[in-house]
């Protein structure tokens, strides 16, 4: 019986740990209700509108899932990067280059059949994102350049590249003739639209993203490469002594992380926008998905499966907020502030959770020492380390 209790206790604390983000979200909503009341709006009516807007009808649910898709894909990349001990805040730029590459493919081969172009376009997006994430990776691993700053700089470079391409080489020929010259590409051929899952706006990309989440989970926790990525993230020195080429795995983490950002861009173009456009800023095209995806991943506790509900929650907030704004007439920026509030509460709850989990971690320290033994076990004898 005693043994059973010992097993149950960590289980309960694990459940509490998993629930803290939810409780934190509720707390954030509570504070937001007070703000709404202060502004003279009825919070119950407002939240009714939010829920109604986010999941009041099949169409609303579909929209929520569509919004959640890029957040999930970006978030998966973030899980890989953070688990690998590197910080990637270049999701915006990676999404943009992925979208550009995928759009380019569709524009160059307008006559090709969809079943050829769609997979190729997703691959193109994946690869372009990998390049955009891989550059900061190489800079970090081999040239000691801070990856937080270089990924941010790469965002800006991607935005400028997008502005150039959409204003000149890739601009819609129709816009070229009209006086307005809106910087956007032509609409991609309808044959390239990602298939709809049900008769709503919900497209195949949402399903792909969920499959990707499962694959990333398997990759990180059930394959040798994923294991090494996590080992580098947990303790780079220990990994190095165990014969893991730390630099190579750092590059790989950032590269894969960027690849998922690029995939998010390709999915966004082929599933939702069907063309690329720009208002000069990154958020004009991405809607801030590159940053919100990071938040979703943190919310999902940097676990690929946990990121799924987190992404859906943020998708729902984004969709429901539109309705909320229309019904209770609050300024749109207040709604972004709601997102910010949720983030702050979730992060602070995460802080609390970690303190709670500290004792648990001490107990698990033994497991970790087993893990480093395993790392030593997997080291190849000829593994050269720089």
């Amino acid at each position: 019986v005693a043994a059973k209790i010992i097993h149950i206790k960590p289980l309960i604390s694990r459940i509490i740990a998993a629930l803290t983000p939810v409780l934190a979200t509720l707390a954030a909503f509570g504070i937001f209700a007070l703000i709404l009341m202060a502004m003279g709006a009825n919070p119950i009516e407002a939240y009714g509108a939010l829920v109604e807007g986010a999941m009041g009808s099949p169409n609303a649910i579909a929209d929520t899932l569509v919004k959640a898709t890029p957040l999930l894909l970006i978030g998966l990349g973030i899980c890989i990067a953070f688990r690998g001990g590197v910080t990637n805040i270049g999701g915006e730029g990676q999404l943009i280059v992925g979208a550009l590459a995928a759009t380019l493919l569709g524009l160059v081969f307008p006559e090709a059949p969809g079943y050829v172009i769609i997979p190729l376009a997703l691959l193109m997006g994946f690869l372009a994102g990998a390049v955009w994430g891989g550059i900061p990776g190489v800079l970090k691993a081999y040239f000691n350049v801070n990856e937080i700053l270089s990924t941010i700089m790469m965002n800006q470079i991607a935005v400028q590249g997008m502005n150039y391409l959409l204003r000149e080489p890739m601009i819609d020929p129709a816009q070229l003739e009209s006086a307005s010259r809106i910087p956007q590409t032509a609409r991609l051929a309808r044959a390239f639209d990602l298939p709809r899952l049900v008769p709503t706006r919900l497209h195949l990309g949402a399903l792909l993203a969920v499959i990707a989440a499962v694959l990333v989970f398997i990759f990180l926790w059930r394959t040798t490469i994923g294991y090494r990525i996590r080992a580098v993230g947990l303790n780079a020195d220990a990994a190095r002594y165990a014969g893991i080429n730390v630099k190579r795995y750092m590059v790989l983490s950032l590269l894969l992380s960027g690849a998922f950002g690029g995939l998010a861009g390709a999915v966004q173009v082929y599933g939702v926008t069907h063309r690329m456009f720009t208002d000069g800023s990154a958020a004009g095209f991405t809607g801030g998905a590159g940053f919100n995806g990071i938040v979703a991943a943190l919310f999902g506790q940097l676990h690929p499966i946990g990121t799924i509900p987190a992404a859906i929650l943020f998708g729902a907030l984004l969709v429901g907020a539109n309705k909320l704004q229309r019904v209770v007439q609050v300024p749109s920026a207040l709604v972004t502030a709601l997102n910010g509030l949720v983030v702050v509460f979730v992060v602070s709850s995460e802080i609390w959770r970690r303190r709670q989990a500290k004792q648990r971690q001490r107990a698990e320290a033994e497991d970790e020492s087993t893990m480093s033994k395993e790392i030593i076990g997997t080291a190849s004898p000829g593994g050269k380390e720089t």
């Binding site: 910080t87 805040i89 800079l139 081999y142 040239f143 000691n144 350049v145 801070n146 937080i148 700053l149 270089s150 941010i152 700089m153 790469m154 800006q156 470079i157 400028q160 590249g161 502005n163 150039y164 204003r167 000149e168 800023s281 940053f291 990071i294 938040v295 943190l298 300024p331 920026a333 207040l334 972004t336 502030a337 997102n339 910010g340 983030v343 702050v344 992060v347 995460e350 802080i351 609390w352 970690r354 303190r355």
Partner: protein, 325 residues
């Protein structure tokens, strides 16, 4: 003569344009020298720029505007310090989330202050000094914010490298254990320097909205916080080098504008991308091992000055929390 005047005008506008960055770089240098990274600069500067402008407009007092902005910066820095020191959280994650929050909040709270004229700092030439040829018009015929920026550089340098508390400050960023063993309250000092640095970052935000880039609109200073963070690294965590970095950055932007006018056939975006590409290149040169190898190819007597010129090293305990037990 006319060309020369034009050049002087451009140079003095570079000095003016760089002044907020110089202030932000000094602030962040102080914070990072103590071992703490405040990554929230971009959001802090946005919210501080908005607050500074709004308060300045409502109270019709520039001083109150700058003070309010400094308070915003201090508050954000306090959150980063508290989260990192007390709650043992990732400084990077907290800083990043605060960046987003500052951006959102400034957009929301600043709606009513968007694109309206407001107060601004007036130019005050310093008598006698401003009549020095060239230097006078560059540095002494400016406004108080510019003077503050340059005074701050000198003060920060003096404090860091010539005073006892400055030595302690560097100590807790390099070897907190050693400092702690000598009786320095490492974490209390980190709180203090985070707040001081944050206050300066806040002032730099207001220096944009009240002096350099007048007024407020959504995303008014977006991106400049990241530039400041990069310049701190380029500056090797030294205020003087950091100020030079900020001036060089301003010069590059001015040069890009001139080049753009000279070569109108080249797309604008090429010039817009230059500062960012340059920042990566600069980080590459100043932190890469490759530079070390290059220096070692040089004659022995050149190596030391070259290393001082090209290479930077971070405070050893930068970004690592310290446990006082």
């Amino acid at each position: 003569m006319n060309d020369f005047d034009q050049l002087l005008k451009t140079l003095s506008s570079i000095v003016l344009q760089s002044s907020p960055l110089i202030i932000a770089v000094c602030g962040e240098t102080i914070t990072e020298r103590s071992g703490l990274i405040n990554l929230s600069l971009d959001g802090t500067m946005l919210l501080a720029a908005m607050t500074g402008f709004a308060v300045g407009l409502k109270t019709n007092s520039l001083i109150l505007g700058f003070l309010a902005a400094a308070l915003v910066g201090m508050l954000f820095a306090l959150v980063v310090a508290f989260g990192s020191i007390r709650l043992k959280q990732s400084q990077v994650a907290i800083g990043f989330v605060l960046t987003l929050l500052g951006d959102d909040l400034s957009a929301f709270l600043g709606q009513n202050f968007s694109r309206i004229p407001g107060p601004f700092v007036m130019k005050v030439g310093i008598p006698i000094l401003k009549d020095i040829p060239i230097l006078g018009s560059l540095f002494f015929d400016q406004d108080p914010v510019v003077y503050f920026a340059f005074l701050l550089v000198g003060l920060t340098w003096w404090f860091l490298f010539r005073t006892q508390p400055g030595l302690k400050l560097r100590g807790i960023g390099e070897r907190p254990e050693a400092a702690f063993a000598r009786g320095v309250k490492v974490n209390r000092m980190r709180y203090i320097y985070a707040v001081v640095g944050g206050g300066l970052v806040g002032i730099s935000g207001a220096a944009y909205s009240l002096n350099v880039k007048l007024g407020w609109s959504e995303g008014h200073t977006r991106g400049l916080g990241w530039i400041a963070l990069a310049i701190v690294i380029f500056g090797g965590w030294s205020p003087i080098r950091g100020a030079i970095g900020a001036l060089l950055f301003g010069a590059t932007k001015a040069l890009a504008t001139i080049l753009q006018r000279t070569f109108p056939q080249v797309s604008v975006v090429a010039f817009n991308a230059i500062p960012w590409i340059m920042m990566i290149a600069v980080l590459l040169v100043s932190t890469s091992e490759l530079t070390e190898r290059f220096i070692n190819l040089m004659p022995v007597s050149w190596r030391h000055p070259l290393r001082r010129f090209l290479r930077v090293t971070a405070p050893m305990a930068l970004g690592t929390p310290f446990r006082e037990d």
